[in-house]
């Protein structure tokens, strides 16, 4: 299903989708959004890419193995809860940085946790799509 028009637009859409995903992610703590939603949105362009161009060409563009991303995401989520243990609080207690950063807002372990979610969703969806579009 390679059409010139589609592939061009897809190229334009990819950064749009990704920045949109990041937008949804960072506002997630205060508005609808968050890791799961952002992860899925971010995976859409690559998913389409794999559908249009086939798995092989997509993996040439998308070099990192998606399953690795999923593993790292899970690791991030797991570890983000351990900071509090170091401070003598139960696992997964939130630890926040006092300062508020511009655009992103407050930074704390829940944000990292949510980013772990994002990575997992992103990796999982991509891995599955890649496998299914593999001939």
């Amino acid at each position: 299903m390679r059409t010139l028009i589609l592939s061009t637009i897809l190229r334009a859409l990819t950064p749009l989708f990704i920045s949109f995903a990041l937008y949804m992610f960072f506002r997630g703590h205060n508005n609808p959004g968050g890791g799961f939603i952002a992860g899925l949105i971010a995976s859409i362009p690559f998913m389409l890419h794999a559908m249009v161009f086939g798995y092989k060409r997509t993996t040439r563009v998308f070099r990192i193995r998606p399953r690795l991303l999923a593993g790292l995401g899970l690791l991030l989520a797991l570890i983000s809860g351990m900071f509090s243990v170091l401070r003598g609080e139960p696992y997964l207690s939130p630890v926040w940085v006092d300062e508020k950063l511009p655009v992103i807002g407050k930074v704390g372990t829940p944000i990292f946790f949510d980013f772990g979610v994002l990575l997992v969703v992103f990796g999982v969806v991509l891995q599955i799509t890649f496998l299914l579009t593999e001939e």
Partner: protein, 99 residues
């Protein structure tokens, strides 16, 4: 009820009718691309409903739903198209309707 709300309600009714018509096309088909397009229009209708509903309920959050809705519907359409073309390559002459 303010004039604005009334207008919004009318709009919702119009779009509901529109949705119904879309669904009729979906049901009668006859070809698969017809159905795909009607799904596409269906999702645009949903987008509209959500946007208007957002206005009516003064809840911006629903606009986000609409936003993502519009992105997602496109992916759905693409997949159906992908299916059509792939199917064509796989089973020559055995397209949508294999009943």
């Amino acid at each position: 009820m303010s004039l604005f709300t009334l207008a919004a309600y009318i709009a919702i009714v119009l779009i509901s009718i529109s949705t119904l018509l879309t669904l009729i096309r979906f049901i009668i088909g006859p070809s698969l691309p017809d159905r795909v397009i009607s799904l596409d229009v269906f999702s645009a209708n949903l987008l509209a409903v959500l946007a208007i509903y957002s206005v009516l309920s003064e809840e911006k959050a629903y606009l986000n739903v609409a936003l993502i809705m519009s992105l997602i519907a496109f992916v759905g359409t693409m997949t159906f198209a992908y299916y059509l073309v792939q199917k064509r390559h796989k089973h020559q002459g055995d397209d949508s309707g294999y009943s």
